[in-house]
Structure formats: structure tokens, C-alpha cells
């Protein structure tokens, strides 16, 4: 199913699909393609009835971009916490 440039929050979309009674094991994207998976884990087309759910999907804002400083600060904080330091 083509996203046509639409941004999606996959976790949110999967919940919205479930609410609509459309059960998929998981979602994935590859470029503009939105897909689900067969029982072997191979990408397969979305069920046609999911198009309306995708159309109505209003994704939550994306998280702010992470910086290298964020990563370092988080790692330092975790290391300190593991040693009982502050």
C-alpha cells in the first residue's frame, strides 16, 4: 500500500487498525510502501480494507531529533546510576 508521502506512526496505526477490526501481526515500511508480514515474516500487501484507516491516520508528532550530546549524556547518566553515583 503506497503511503503517497504520508507520514505514519506505525505503532499508532497498528492500534487504529486493531480498533477497526483489522488485525495484522506487525507493520513495516520500505520507502513509500506500507506492508505487513506473512507467517514466515516476508513482507506482504496490506489488507485493502486498511486504506480507510490509513487515510484517517493522524500521526503523533515525531520525537525531537537526537544529538550526539544527548546520547553521551544518557550513557553517562546510566553509568553513574549503575554505580550509585550522581
Amino acid at each position: 500500500m503506497n503511503l503517497n508521502g504520508k507520514r505514519v506512526d506505525l505503532a499508532q496505526l497498528q492500534a487504529e487498525l486493531a480498533t477497526a477490526g483489522i488485525t495484522v501481526p506487525a507493520l513495516g515500511t520500505a520507502g513509500e510502501d506500507l506492508h505487513t508480514y506473512d507467517e514466515d515474516g516476508a513482507a506482504i500487501d496490506m489488507p485493502p480494507e486498511s486504506a480507510a484507516v490509513l487515510e484517517a491516520h493522524d500521526p503523533a508528532p515525531p520525537p525531537p531529533p537526537v544529538t550526539l550530546d544527548d546520547v553521551i549524556a544518557a550513557a553517562v547518566a546510566r553509568a553513574l546510576a549503575e554505580r550509585g553515583l550522581k
Binding site: 506487525a26 513495516g28 520507502g31 508480514y37 515474516g41
Partner: protein, 213 residues
Amino acid sequence: MPLNPVPNYPASLDSLPDPTSATYVDDDGFELDLLLSKHNAIMEALEAKLGTGASVPDANEVLVGNGAGASTWLAGLTADYIAANAVSQVGSANGSSFGPTTTSASYVDLTDMSVTLTGVTVGSKLVAIFSGTFQHNTVTAGVKTAFSLDGAAEVGGSTFVAAATNQQSPLVLVRVFTATATSHTIKTRWFASTPTATAVGTDRTLIVVELKR
């Protein structure tokens, strides 16, 4: 019985009669003209087998054909004398789809990462190498990658856990498989501990090298 002047060679080997000091040139089975004719035919067949070209063998040299009906002694076999894929073969796949994502909590195919080798020698070694860059949008959530050979259970996994939102990290897989058939497909597969994992950009490559015995 007169000697048969037609040799068995090259279809099969000959057994030539050995004359003694008491043998006459026209003895039955030792007729000199027939014996010479047979020798000539055998030598001509050997010449054709060895090919033309004057060269003398030296230590560790091998005789190779270097043209139609020609041969030479070669000090070292070069790639020119080895058929393509006779010793090794390489298959590879590069990421082409930009930034694939998944919410799957169990292994699924990683987009573009599948390599099939055919003409594989049973018993040879398949060296699989994968590298890619991954991202997870949730702190302490992980991305795991692994190889699957012909759809079998995943092996050789490698994991990264995000220490910050949308942290990126490279993952590398290396695994040696033993070929059990003449065709094998190796895939890189992945899953996310919680939604959503991303394979960053097109930064992923799968290489499979077959090393034949």
C-alpha cells in the same frame, strides 16, 4: 594369430607383446610391420593428447592447454586457467529502499537483504557478512538482527539497545554456514523489542562468499 595393428588407445590402454632374443620379426603376433604400425598410431595419439609446444617441466609446474591442440608447462596456475566460480563465488545485496521500518516483535525480512547463491558445492563454506545502521525511537528498546539460511531459525544475532530516543547504532553479523545443497538463500532478518525500529537510510549490505573445498 597375427598382431592387430590398431591400438586401443586413446579409448583404453594397450598391452603390447614383448619380444625375446628368440623371437623372429615374422613370428605370429610379433610381425614387425604390424608392431611398428601399432607403435606409430599410439605415438601419434599421445602427441595429440599432449599437444604441440616445446617446453620442459620444472618443479611444481603443471601441464595446461594453452590453445587448440597446444599445451605448456606452467609454473603457477593463474586465474585465467580457473573457471569462473570454480573456487569461490560472491553474492551481495545493498540497501536500495530508504529507511525501512518495522513494528514486528518477531523476526521478519529486512528489506533488500537477501542473497541466493546457485551452483553451490555441497560441503563448501558460506561466509555471510552483514552490516547496517539501525535506529530505535524508544529509550531502552532494542533492535535485533540475525541471519536465516533457507528459512531456518535465525542464528548469529546482534542487538543494539537505544540509550536515547532515536539513537542510531551500527550492527554487524558474521557467520559461517556449511552448504548442504546446490542452492542456498541467506537473509538478514530483524525485529524491534517495541515499536518502532528503523534501518537508517540505505546503509546496509549483505555479502555471502562461498569458499569451495
